[in-house]
Amino acid sequence: MYGMVNEGIRTFILTNHGAEAWRRICARAGVQEAEFEKMTSYEDELTYKLVDAVGEFTGLDAQDVLKVFGKYWVDFAGGSGFRHLMRLSGPTFIEQVRGLDDLHDRIILSMPHLKPPSFELEDLGGETFLLHYYSDRDGLAPMVEGLLHGIAKDTGEEIDVEQVAFRSEGADHDVFRIRLLA
């Protein structure tokens, strides 16, 4: 994954736990780099190792780390100059979610090795939606949950998210049920 993701993890730890904590996490993950080049592509393995080490450090399991990190990501990516890319899709939660593929497509122009996720939103009516999440990678569904809450926080809406299909349990892809709360 692009260094930007690892940088996100690093900034998250620095903000919440401090520089020495980050050094210890890197040491535990066996990671030499203490900082990452946002626009350089790194092995996915490295990101997974970092997530595990953060889990060990914070006492959370990897899934919860991903959730927390997902929520944080929207702020972090937005703050890194990409917010206007998100805004292109529109100001509401639903518009932003619909625009996620376009968003990552646009990012590909500057990060040509990106292997982006793909999403599709299905309107079930009654403010309820199904979000289909397709990915070449495993295990990142909890992050999507966090990310969705991150978007909602950003657009000032409230949502309820529940994962209803699990690729890890044999489904074709992960699916989330989203309800917009008044």
Binding site: E20, E35, A53, F57, H132
Partner: protein
């Protein structure tokens, strides 16, 4: 060409015509094929069949195709009906996310884009930027690398690879700012006992080995949130993030002491150190800063070191004791500045001739208008904080100047006796300092007797110290062995020593009058010393009976309260006058 990437479909979805660029990419055989045989829908994802394209006229579509069976390419697409009858479809394509790949793969030029399409211009501009970006990335990477290295150096102990004082400091500050006020941390402050002797006896390589092994031992007892650090020469710290309750914590520390005390092998030799640990448990916000915490753990460590290989948990009393002694240290410093340390003198007498052999100089702290304090009050604290040297110097100079005055007055007071410590002897310029100070007062080394504790010479058996004693003797000083009999030396071991006076410790003197066994030992000791040509002086004589017994046993030199306690210069002058007068009466 207006639409170089278009396809026109007939009512059955077959490609009737295609733009020149598409024909170049897919070959002329694309004509006549069904659109959905060549292209697959990528987005919207779950739609199939021509009908669904009809349902999404004018919307953004993403399709992909693999020309010549090679790597697939994504296109953006939009479909519009060709005629009113809605039979044919015009699908206009554009390069999507694979634009860069296509430009190279198909050698695209401006002609492959619609006249009003800016993408190829943007693309080349992007490419230039990417090249520039790569340059900056390289530079940034190099800078980051050196920054990291510098940072690592500044936060890592270079010998052992664990954290150093700076990184401990940082982590402590992080813990103190921890958001959970209920979190409990512990700081162990660890000092290796006898490390210096490993360096001295086995060399620095062995010393380094010991330090590295200690670092490994600390690492072995660390979890991810804990942190080991080397914070000084042989000083370490271990920071525990989830401190267990006190009993378990102490056990952990004791286990660590045991691990640190394991023998270390170096070049077929085995050396061993011990460790003392001071322990502090703390919670976020409880202590103002990391410096205070380290200072607190140091207080506990100090108490632990007092017992060697001990573990001590910081307590309120320890802090109080420490504050008291800190106050005392600054009082002592002030007293040195105000020159409040003075010599007191206690006579040493040859009872056979009645003459004064000399005066022993002892330090006293004279508080103006208050009591006079003995070293019991300040010696330990002053030694620990390295002020004793200054006090000694102050007292010594005053004593020398007093002796010079007495000599000028024609008083016969014999030699001045000064106590000498191991650290005096270790200091290379001790002899020259003494000689200069004496010369400044017009005195000579033969005016001075230096008294050293038996333990200095024998327990540490340090060749350098013995050499230093020889130098002093050769310079003309008389050397006396103080507190003789309390250590492990016997008179026989004194043969090779540059010592000419033995001061028998008070423990041999007190109670002599009633204890027959002691009498025999003391008698034998005196006889042997006499045979070896050593002068013997008995100190701590308090009663006439003790004096009489020792005289009978052959001793003639004495010091003790029986004659006079240590007193100031004026009083000793009066005492000397009285003694002299009595002597004259006796002989007259």
């Amino acid at each position: 060409m207006l639409f170089p990437l278009h396809v026109r479909l007939d009512g059955l979805g077959r490609i009737e015509t295609a733009g020149p660029t598409l024909r170049r990419i897919f070959g002329e055989e694309i004509i006549g094929q069904a659109f959905l045989d060549v292209f697959t829908m990528v987005r919207p994802r779950r739609i199939q069949g021509l009908q669904s394209i009809w349902e999404r006229l004018g919307e953004k579509l993403v399709v992909s195709a693999a020309p010549s069976g090679e790597e697939p390419i994504q296109f953006r697409a939009v479909a519009v009906p060709v005629d009113r009858a809605h039979e044919g479809l015009l699908i206009d394509l554009s390069f999507g996310i694979h634009l860069a790949r296509c430009v190279h793969r198909f050698a695209l030029t401006e002609a492959d884009f619609k006249p009003n399409d800016f993408s190829i211009d943007l693309f080349y501009s992007f490419q230039t930027q990417q090249t520039l970006l790569k340059d900056s990335q390289k530079l940034a990477q190099a800078l980051k690398q050196s920054k990291l290295q510098a940072e690592r150096k500044s936060l890592e102990d270079s010998l052992t690879g664990i954290g150093n004082r700076a990184s401990l400091h940082r982590r402590l500050e992080e813990m103190l700012a921890h958001p959970d006020p209920g979190a409990r941390f512990a700081l162990m402050h660890i000092d290796l006992d006898d490390f210096k002797s490993v360096n001295d006896n086995f060399g620095h390589a062995a010393g380094d080995r010991v330090l590295m092994q200690a670092a490994r031992a600390l690492q072995a007892s660390c979890g991810i949130k804990d942190m080991p650090a080397r914070i000084g020469g042989d000083e370490f710290a271990l920071l525990l993030a989830d401190a267990p309750e006190e009993g378990e914590l102490e056990k952990l520390a004791r286990d660590l002491v045991a691990a640190l005390s394991m023998p270390v092998h170096h070049n077929d030799q085995s050396c061993r150190v011990g460790a003392s640990i001071g322990l502090v448990v703390f919670q976020p916000g409880q202590v103002p800063n990391a410096d205070r915490l380290i200072a607190n753990s140091d207080i506990a460590l100090y108490e632990a070191k007092g017992q060697k290989s001990a573990v001590k948990v910081l307590s309120e009393e320890m802090i109080e004791r420490h504050e008291k002694s800190t106050r005392l240290v600054s009082e002592i410093r002030r007293a040195v500045k105000k020159s409040q340390f003075v010599p007191f003198f206690q006579p040493q007498i040859d009872t056979l001739s009645g003459s004064i052999r000399g005066l022993e100089v002892v330090a006293r702290w004279e508080l103006p208008g208050q009591d006079v304090l003995t070293p019991a009050y300040f010696l330990e604290v002053a030694t620990r904080s390295n002020i004793m040297v200054d006090i000694d110097r102050q007292v010594r100079r005053k004593a020398f100047s007093q002796l010079a005055a007495w000599q000028r007055q024609g008083r016969k007071i014999g030699k001045l006796s000064l106590n000498v410590t191991a650290s005096n002897l270790r200091s290379v310029d001790f002899v020259s300092v003494l000689l200069v100070e004496l010369a400044a007062e017009g005195l000579r080394p033969s005016d001075i007797q230096l008294e050293l504790l038996e333990s200095i010479l024998f327990e540490q058996f340090d060749h350098e110290l013995i050499e230093q004693c020889r130098t002093l003797e050769q310079a003309g000083f008389t050397l006396a062995l103080d507190d003789f009999g309390t250590g492990h030396s016997s008179i026989a071991t004194l043969i090779d020593m540059p010592i000419s006076v033995l001061k028998i410790d008070r423990s041999f003197v007190s109670g002599l009058d009633s204890n027959a066994k002691m009498q025999r030992i003391t008698g034998a000791m005196l006889a042997m010393a006499k045979n070896m040509g050593l002068d013997v002086l008995a100190e701590g004589v308090e009663t006439l009976k003790e004096l009489e017994f020792l005289e009978k046993a052959g001793c003639r030199s004495f010091q003790g309260f029986y004659f006079s306690p240590p007193v100031n210069a004026e009083e000793i002058e009066r005492w000397l006058d009285v003694w002299q007068a009595n002597l004259c009466q006796l002989s007259g």
